[in-house]
Symmetry: C2
Subunit: 317 residues, 2 copies
């Protein structure tokens, strides 16, 4: 299969312009791309414009690529028109297999040769989405983490019919677009990010259910200790450094058996009414009447500061 060179992509089609699609729009515009958007909602254009206008100052602060233009997009009346001139397609439609399959069937024949289609799906296996498509080999999952214009990670997963070179292409393309793309080698529920997230949350729920600590104190343990480190080094490198200069090998030799004992002692809570009430009461105590919008705005403002700091510090090191 002859694919366009990843670094030569200039025109991107976005299918679906909800929260994820709009986030992608902001990201690609900041990278200097030209976009064509399709979304069946009648107010899609208005929502996308408002989303871009709100996010653009943040992108200016984080740094724009040459030629970045917040207006470099047009709305297409149908998906076929959207993909016709595209070098790459990012699909962010509703999380329903039937709707995504319908959409793919409509665009498949209209796709220019050598163009890859990536799905933002967080939970539907690509093997099911691409089944029976003549162009199946060109479809791959490229799952961003919300919000796509701020969080660098993208999970790339192939379905059973995805060509290996399409997976390689997607990894190279996202990296060329400033993303940190990782390869998920198996279609497992939750891919990697969501599996790790629910693994931590399980023990966080257990701590509350078992009376070890309050909801607020569990969150504090992450924000004021673990999360500070995990923003800088991952769980494996943490273990490698915790072992001292002997690293991972020494750590596994000396502490492997006791870590296995700890694993045995971890909780397996059930989300039953009594536990749920503890979680709800706990989060109400922690958030103390603050609104959803207020909490999200604070988180995103802090996130931009941390991203900017890490970018400068890593660039300098």
């Amino acid at each position: 299969m002859k694919l366009i060179a990843p670094q030569d992509v200039r025109r991107i089609a976005l299918l679906g312009a909800g929260t994820i699609g709009s986030g992608w729009a902001v990201h690609y515009l900041a990278r200097g791309m030209t976009l064509t958007l399709y979304d069946p909602a009648s107010d899609a254009e208005q929502r996308v414009r408002a989303f871009i206008a709100k996010a653009w100052p943040t992108m200016c602060r984080l740094g724009l690529s040459a030629g970045a233009d917040p207006d470099a997009f047009r709305i297409a009346p149908d998906p076929i028109e959207a993909v016709r001139d595209a070098d790459f397609v990012q699909e962010s439609g509703p999380e329903r297999t039937d709707l995504k399959r319908d959409l793919y069937r409509r665009v498949d024949e209209a796709l220019p040769p050598g163009v890859v289609v990536a799905s933002s799906t967080s939970g539907l296996p690509m093997t099911a989405l691409q089944a029976d498509l003549p162009g199946a080999a060109r479809y791959v999952t490229g799952h961003p983490v919300n919000p796509p214009h701020l969080i660098p990670l993208v999970e790339v997963v192939g379905g059973s019919a995805t060509a290996p070179e399409v997976i390689e292409w997607a990894l190279a393309f996202y990296r060329a677009q400033g993303k940190r793309a990782i390869h998920i080698r198996k279609e497992v529920p939750g891919m990697l990010v969501n599996r790790l997230q629910v693994a931590l949350w399980r023990e966080a729920v257990h701590a509350v259910a078992d009376g070890i600590a309050s909801v607020e104190d569990v969150d504090a343990a992450v924000v004021h200790a673990l999360g500070l480190r995990w923003a800088l080094i991952g769980p494996h490198l943490t273990i490698h450094l915790a072992g001292g200069p002997g690293g991972m090998r020494r750590h596994l030799e000396h502490l492997g058996p006791s870590i296995e004992d700890w694993w045995q002692d971890l909780g397996a809570p059930k989300l039953e009414p009594q536990v749920n009430e503890k979680l709800i009461e706990g989060i109400e105590a922690e958030t103390a009447g603050r609104s959803y919008d207020d909490l999200v705005a604070e988180r995103d403002a802090l996130l931009v500061e941390v991203l900017q700091t890490l970018k400068q510090a890593r660039g300098a090191s």
Copy 2:
């Protein structure tokens, strides 16, 4: 029991001046405290001075309290002499029950009235450490996260003989010292921070053992996505906000059953030779020959920048 007011503490005795004790020394000196240190090692004073000299510029950058003086400490020839005039004692000796019990027996009678002794132990239950001491009620665990002068969190846990007011006192004292102190209400293995850490690592190991992703890609998933959020909001608040304006309650109602299914699907790896080799090879690929000292120095430099950024951003919000 009549205890000194937490905010009136000025003189602190540190028993044990290894990595953790030295970190505490830096922290308390930066808060303007006067210290007396005891450590049986013959080169303890030299090591502590070197540690303080190296860390002090960082503390200056993060902000010193009034009266902070890197030389405001003296070395005591024995533990009794160290605690004699103290308002508070932080013990950071070796992680051995017999050694800590011996030390406590030696100082117990010499402790001024109303003085609390906190142990930095990460794994030994206070109930065992304080057993049979006449002053048992005044002993409590105050477990920092390494390095204690940078990571804000302290886990406070009482043993069965710890007076409830001593637990309250320790929480108030650490908060007065600029720490984020949380109350661990049960003596469970790993308290909270280490339980959460090994819970995440278990799934991180499973991902490698099961061939879902490489060691490097697992670390990237945390550093470039999850950790960025966890440095800002904890796992419970993450779920609360992921549910949209309906928050935790709505999330549990709508997604509780599917989260329980995901929990069922999480891995339970064994640290057997084949898995260990994958982890060791993976971390070698990720670190690409970089030394322990180099990696730690980079992590700590980034940590200071992130701490400073969050302090300024939170102070401003």
